[in-house]
């Protein structure tokens, strides 16, 4: 086994390429996180509705996105959707749409579980005070439900950030994509993929630790 000569200097010389990728990783992660959380709330509300016309389509949407691989979703939005709609879909748009929908589907289930976890008495008390559904949701149910579901949501954002690397397969220029380009260009896959893995590790590990701390803190204040 010949000893391999590590050369991390070459990675440092090209750090700006990886930094550019990292920026796009944050961009896709943040945009699909925020949009997904909003759509997820709507979907979660629809799932809880007693009207079949609302709850059924939401359930179908959630099941489709939870039971297909994220990579297949991304590729579907990139290769299939443009044909269906007869318009151009950029790598960013395809990645953004699929990650948003995926995130919305998983978030809907978290919202649903959170809202279900609030005792019936709270609903009744709100109604007795003459609050309508939206007011009650906004002032009584959601503030409590959100607190209970924060750890699940921080986990979700870690998962989502992990998933953004899939966007490299449709040539969106995030961290993984830049890493692949660099490694092909410099013939230094070991150093480059190790660096890329390390960057992801730092981000995701920080997220995991943060999520754990938050969980402890919130359970103490309950």
């Amino acid at each position: 086994m010949g000893a391999y000569n590590w050369d991390f200097l070459i990675v440092f010389q090209n750090l700006d390429v990886l930094a550019k990728g990292l920026l796009l990783t944050f961009k896709i992660a943040a945009s699909s996180l925020v949009t997904g959380l909003i759509i997820g709330l709507v979907l979660g509300g629809m799932r809880l509705s007693k009207k079949k016309l609302l709850s059924f389509p939401a359930a179908v949407f959630v099941e489709i996105f939870r039971n297909t691989p994220a990579l297949v979703q991304i590729m579907w939005f990139f290769y299939a959707l443009p044909i269906l709609l007869n318009l151009q879909v950029s790598p960013f748009m395809a990645a953004f749409l699929s990650l948003t929908m995926n995130n919305a589907a998983f978030s809907a289930e978290i919202y649903k579980a959170g809202i279900n976890s609030i005792e019936k008495g709270q609903w009744e008390a709100g109604k007795a005070l003459g609050m309508n559904f939206l007011k009650l949701m906004q002032r009584v149910i959601l503030p409590q439900a959100i607190k209970r579901t924060i750890p699940a949501f921080t986990n979700r954002s870690v998962e989502l950030t992990r998933m953004t690397s899939l966007a490299s397969t449709i040539a969106y220029g995030e961290l993984m994509y830049q890493g692949r380009l660099l490694s092909e260009y410099l013939y230094r896959p070991i150093e480059i993929f190790t660096t890329v893995a390390l960057i992801y590790f730092i981000i995701l590990y920080t997220g995991t630790i943060f999520s754990g701390l938050l969980e402890k803190r919130l359970s103490r204040s309950d």
Partner: protein, 219 residues
């Protein structure tokens, strides 16, 4: 604007898709078995009172849980062979990446399950003169595994969801064949929708199974 769907073309080219599906199922089952073995070993190492072993297992698990599976796959396919001077084909790389990746998650499930068994069971086994391994095999694991079943099935579903990544290193799974066919025929819409449907059927079965176990053990 009116697109004419033609699913007949999918049926005409069903052979490569079936061989791709076979690749997906083969890869899933082999990595599931190896992942479970890896997970059990890692869990036992994590539970060890010998600090260096414990810390090694902890970091091994964290590294795999806190990096994207795609990065793991590229690292094992492109970097590992140079580093230790061996050659790894797409299948071997995929097996290694998916087994280690799922093993890291299985380890935490095993650990949780083992820890959840009451102390009295350990003491009873020890007082009967059982060795650590006999005790683990006959008393602890059979009880723990029942409790862990829903989590295991969930994880297996996650594993199958991760398998399409191997298409990017050229392993012939369902997604790989789908990409090839759709490039050849400009019928991406039909091919990708079909592939999504197949994955949906497989994964829904898994999700339903997991819910069934969960309800069964909750009662």
């Amino acid at each position: 604007m009116d697109y004419k769907w033609d699913f007949l073309i999918v049926l005409k080219n069903i052979d490569p898709l079936i061989s791709g599906l076979y690749g997906t199922l083969l890869l899933s089952s082999v990595s599931l078995i190896l992942g479970l073995i890896t997970g059990l070993i890692l869990a036992l190492l994590r539970l060890s009172k010998f600090k260096p072993v414990n810390v090694f297992a902890l970091y091994f698990i964290e590294i795999f849980r806190c990096t994207p599976p795609l990065v793991q796959l590229y690292w094992i396919f492109y970097a590992l062979p140079i580093l230790i001077n061996i050659s790894l084909g797409p299948f071997e790389s995929a097996i290694i990446a998916l087994s280690l990746g799922s093993g890291a998650y299985f380890a935490e499930i095993f650990r949780g399950g083992i820890v959840s068994i009451a102390r009295g069971q350990w003491e009873a086994g020890k007082s009967l003169g059982m060795s650590y391994f006999t005790l683990m095999l006959r008393i602890i694991l059979p009880q723990a595994i029942k409790r862990m079943l829903p989590a295991f099935v969930n994880r297996a579903v996650e594993l199958v969801k991760t398998t399409p990544l191997v298409a990017v290193i050229g392993y012939s799974d369902l997604l790989y064949q789908t990409v090839l066919l759709s490039q050849r025929s400009y019928r991406s819409l039909e091919y990708f929708t079909f592939a999504a449907l197949i994955y949906f059927v497989i994964l829904s079965i898994g999700t339903t199974l997991s819910q069934y176990f969960e309800n069964k053990f909750n009662n």
